[in-house]
């Protein structure tokens, strides 16, 4: 009996190991005295370019935590899966992490569509997801913590900067054709109009993923810019398409002094594939730049470069978001004394941890965090130089104040309200949106 049971166990283990061998690093041979952390980032396919770095950053953070003695007296163990840039696969892999591997928290996703795909899974299985990328807002979910920027922590301050400091009056909103740029541009359009910008002074343009022929659009921007008013481009162009876009801008001789481009998806990592000399002065808005001059950041960069064994590897904003999110989770688990999701979800609100730009970020009741907003100009060494920053921290706003149907909503996951979309007009939970 005893023998048969253990045989059966071994067999199950073997089968499991065989099944997971291709996807799991760190072993299926589960040890009972570890706390497991799931990492859900694409390691192949289109998004591998951005997400692989985040996987490495998470592995580094977990290793560092283990060096400090782990968590609740146990070691942390990373479970890495590869959802291969395939959105439905994200949901399957998330289920696998929670049900099969029994992880206590998941750090992952990049695109909004992948996040939307895993939401029902986290809700159903009541687990925790930390989402590290700037996104379009209009969402607040009990099981998800948004450590990237909401539109009011990136897009709106960037537009304010251009309006006030550069005197921009005409706007090109250029983006890749999917949910993040479309929603962000809708918010920006409403915001610009509320500031008195006329309809004909806004040009909106969408391009497919991976668009590589930018000639027409760059020349359209040039034409749009020659109407006697200061013009700027607000770019929500995502991923691979940025490199040919900037190459075309550089070659067409569009200088930042004449038509500045401010980007929300271009960081140090994206610039790594580019000669940035012709792009000096174009802008990006983030909550972190590698050039941030603080001791915490210097230490983070050093640890990172040592971890990947490359002195030229850059750091970027979503990495900082994972850094903040991971430390918040650690602190919340210590506070709750358990990794039980319900306890951690209750404990994490109000937790405040140092960020890398010299301040503290706190988890708010709407599951978004407080961050400083930085505007940086591209330098010829591929880094950004901060030219402006908000005087204090900005609280992430889940529901935009500039969209109809969203401006009346608030989110507060503390008891007794405990609602992600409370309508302040009707006084009911479940106004609109998700």
């Amino acid at each position: 009996m005893h023998k048969g049971n253990s045989m059966k166990k071994t067999f199950t283990k073997l089968a499991l190991a065989g099944l997971m061998a291709s996807t799991i690093i760190g072993g299926a041979a589960a040890q009972e005295d570890t706390i497991k952390v799931g990492i859900l980032h694409s390691l192949s396919g289109t998004m591998a370019i951005s997400e692989t770095t985040l996987k490495d950053a998470m592995l580094m953070l977990i290793e560092e935590q283990n060096k400090k003695g782990g968590l609740l007296g146990k070691k942390l163990e990373a479970v890495v899966v590869d959802p291969a840039s395939d959105w439905p696969l994200f949901a399957e892999k998330a289920r696998e992490l929670i049900e099969v591997n029994g992880v206590d928290a998941v750090f992952g996703c990049w695109t909004s569509v992948s996040r939307k795909s895993v939401l029902p899974v986290f809700e159903e299985l009541n687990s925790i997801l930390f989402y590290p990328v700037q996104y379009e807002g209009e969402e607040s979910q009990r099981n998800v913590f948004y450590t990237g920027a909401a539109p009011n922590q990136q897009a709106i301050p960037a537009v304010d900067y251009l309006m006030n400091e550069e005197g921009v009056e005409r706007w090109v909103l250029a983006g890749t054709d999917y949910v993040y740029p479309r929603t962000t541009n809708k918010i920006l359009e409403a915001y610009l109009k509320s500031k008195g910008v006329a309809e004909e002074d806004i040009m909106i343009n969408y391009t497919p993923f991976g668009h590589s022929d930018w000639q027409t659009i760059v020349s359209d921007i040039k034409t749009f810019g020659s109407a006697g008013k200061k013009t700027a481009v607000v770019s929500t162009i995502n991923g691979d398409a940025n490199v040919p876009f900037y190459k075309e801008l550089g070659n067409a001789g569009i200088k930042a002094e004449d038509i500045p481009v401010v980007a929300f998806s271009v960081g140090e990592e994206e610039l790594a594939g580019l000669d940035t000399a012709p792009l000096v002065g174009h802008l990006a808005a983030w909550n972190y730049f590698q050039s941030a001059d603080t001791d915490a950041n210097a230490e983070f960069i050093e640890t990172w470069q040592a971890y990947v064994g490359d002195d030229n590897r850059v750091t970027n904003d979503p990495m900082e978001a994972h850094f903040i999110g991971f430390n918040m989770w650690v602190e919340a688990v210590e506070k709750a004394g358990t990794t039980d999701p319900d306890a951690v979800i209750d404990a994490i609100v109000g937790v405040s941890v140092p960020n890398l730009t010299g301040g503290y970020s706190a988890m708010m009741p709407n599951h978004h965090i407080t961050k400083p907003v930085l505007i940086g100009e591209i330098q010829d060494d591929g880094q950004f130089e901060t030219v402006w920053e908000t005087s204090g921290l900005v609280v992430g706003d889940a529901w935009s104040d500039y969209l109809d149907g969203s401006k009346d909503l608030i989110s507060d996951w503390r008891a007794p309200l405990s609602c992600g979309n409370f309508n302040t007009v009707t006084g009911k939970c479940g106004g609109s949106g998700s």
Partner: protein, 540 residues
């Protein structure tokens, strides 16, 4: 230590000051405190300081301002002296901003960069414009005039008047007159002068002029406004014609990119009938070869950088060609006549190749630089032509011609055509058909490899590079007519131009969909594409 350094510096400065003309010495020393004040603080103060430097009207401050604009101006933390600094080894080599003599070295942490932002760069540009209008080099004078044009600074009118009186070069004079017109329109001079200025801009006739005139139209009144309105109508008309020409150029450029991506496929798919889903990865491998070559040149022979593409071309051809031959010998030859299996097998190979490259080179983009001769743009009339696009069109045509020659004029081409048209007859005539298959597949893959060298100049070099081109390539080959290289050429150019004419109206996303719909309809009407191959091969 720092005292000693300052002392040495002082000696050095004295030495060069003594060797120079005496008036320069007194000027330089009078300006130095002003220059050092640039290191005072925030942007607003730097801007004020720039104003004071410009107010001296001394061209000697120009180099310092230029360096400031380029981000090369630093101050030394120990004594807040300002220097022009360039990276040298681990630290910086310092240059005196006034005498332009070397001023020793400094470690990375000893100096701090004086920050500039876009606003300051604009201020600097117009400041430099007024300072360098009388420079000896006509190109510098022209750049100065252009800077004033952009700034539309009425303060520049007097300087321009003086410069115009002394100007001997007709080209520069014209730019100066345009700059003067721009400044006049922004000043409070009388209407007669402004009318004259509007006329100058109307003759200039480009977008910059249009931009200024639209501004005048909304701010001025009376005769000036009418003249501006007339000029705007005139310029718009001429620009519309140029826009059409520009669109055709964009279309040709997109077409040549499509041609490069598709021409290898035209051989493997068009001539051999193999549905090769790994074609895009051959293009990607070519691009990575370019990256490796440039990387080697950067570390061992930086002087050769401008020739990197020529070195990469044969290597890319070999690398992709050999991988192509290996794929044909290893996989595809077992699957001839089974298109579905070939499709799946090659798709698998494409995934393997992508992941292999991702593991070797990492998932992030790799930087492939543009050689000097492929950077920048020039203008024909109101049309902007970028060098990289132009050379890619030329290159695509060369590749096409070369391939045509190989297929039509060499024994190998003869064998290939024979095998394509009637495999069994060719075999009976003593042609080793398996060898021809392997070589033809290698040729097609090799061509894809050199296409990768060209595409690395405009697209990003990442493991996904090939995926973006595979659908377009099949579209071109099917549309142009399977088995016909001329069809591929005409197909690529037609699709390019149609796409570019649709894009301004329909947007990039819808434009692409329209093109796809047009092709589907066209294939319904003519299933064999533009140039259908006639003969027995078709029935086979």
């Amino acid at each position: 230590m720092s005292l000693l350094k300052s002392f040495l510096l002082f000696i050095g400065l004295m030495a060069c000051a003594v060797s120079g003309p005496s008036f320069a010495q007194s000027d330089a020393e009078a300006l130095r405190p002003l220059i050092n004040d640039l290191a005072k603080g925030k942007y607003a103060e730097t801007e004020k300081q720039i104003g004071e430097l410009v107010a001296t009207g001394d061209p000697a401050v120009a180099p310092a301002l230029e360096a400031l604009g380029e981000g090369d101006l630093y101050f030394r933390k120990s004594d807040r002296m300002v220097f022009i600094a360039h990276k040298a080894g681990k630290g910086y080599a310092l240059t005196d901003p006034l005498t332009l003599e070397p001023a020793g070295e400094a470690g990375r942490r000893e100096v701090t960069k004086i920050k500039v932002n876009n606003k300051l760069r604009r201020v600097l540009r117009s400041a430099l414009g007024s300072l360098t209008l009388m420079a000896a080099d006509p190109q510098v004078r022209q750049a100065a005039a252009q800077a004033i044009f952009k700034a539309q600074d009425p303060e520049g009118i007097d300087a321009l008047n003086a410069a115009l009186a002394a100007e001997t070069d007709d080209g520069v004079r014209k730019v100066m007159e345009e700059a003067r017109a721009a400044a006049v329109l922004n000043s409070d001079l009388d209407d007669a002068q402004k009318l004259e200025a509007v006329r100058t801009l109307s003759d200039m006739g480009n977008r910059d002029a249009l931009s200024l005139l639209i501004g005048v139209q909304s701010s001025a009144d009376g005769a000036v406004r009418d003249a501006a309105t007339q000029a705007i109508t005139k310029i718009r008309k001429s620009i519309a014609a140029w826009d059409a020409a520009q669109n055709i150029w964009y279309g040709l450029s997109l077409g040549s990119v499509l041609l490069l991506a598709a021409i290898g496929l035209a051989i493997t798919f068009g001539v051999m009938g193999v549905i090769n889903m790994a074609h895009g990865e051959m293009v990607m491998i070519g691009a990575y070869v370019t990256f490796v070559v440039q990387e080697l040149i950067r570390t061992s022979a930086p002087g050769l950088f401008d020739y990197s593409l020529f070195i990469a071309l044969p290597l890319a051809f070999l690398a992709s060609g050999l991988i192509g031959v290996a794929i044909e010998r290893g996989v595809i030859r077992w699957l001839y006549g089974r298109p579905l299996e070939t499709l799946l097998a090659t798709w698998g190979i494409s995934l393997i190749l992508q992941q292999a490259v991702r593991s070797i080179f990492g998932p992030t983009n790799r930087e492939v630089g543009n050689p000097e001769w492929m950077s920048g743009a020039f203008e024909i009339g109101q049309m902007t032509i970028t060098y990289n696009r132009m050379w890619i069109i030329v290159f695509a045509m060369l590749v096409f011609t070369g391939l045509m020659l190989v297929l039509k004029k060499t024994p190998f081409g003869l064998y290939t055509r024979a095998v394509t048209q009637n495999r069994r007859m060719a075999a009976s005539m003593g042609i080793r058909t398996p060898w021809v298959d392997a070589m033809t597949f290698g040729l097609g893959s090799g061509i894809a490899g050199i296409a990768g060298v060209a595409l690395s100049q405009i697209d990003n070099v990442s493991p996904n590079l090939g995926q973006g081109y595979i659908i377009d390539s099949f579209m071109v080959v099917v549309f142009g007519g399977v088995g016909n290289l001329w069809g591929t050429l005409v197909g690529a150019m037609t699709l390019g131009i149609v796409n570019k004419f649709l894009e301004p109206y329909a947007g990039a996303v819808l434009g692409k969909i329209f093109v796809l719909v047009i092709i589907i309809l066209f294939i319904q009407k003519r299933p064999r594409g533009l140039f259908a191959l006639k003969g027995r091969a078709v029935e086979a």
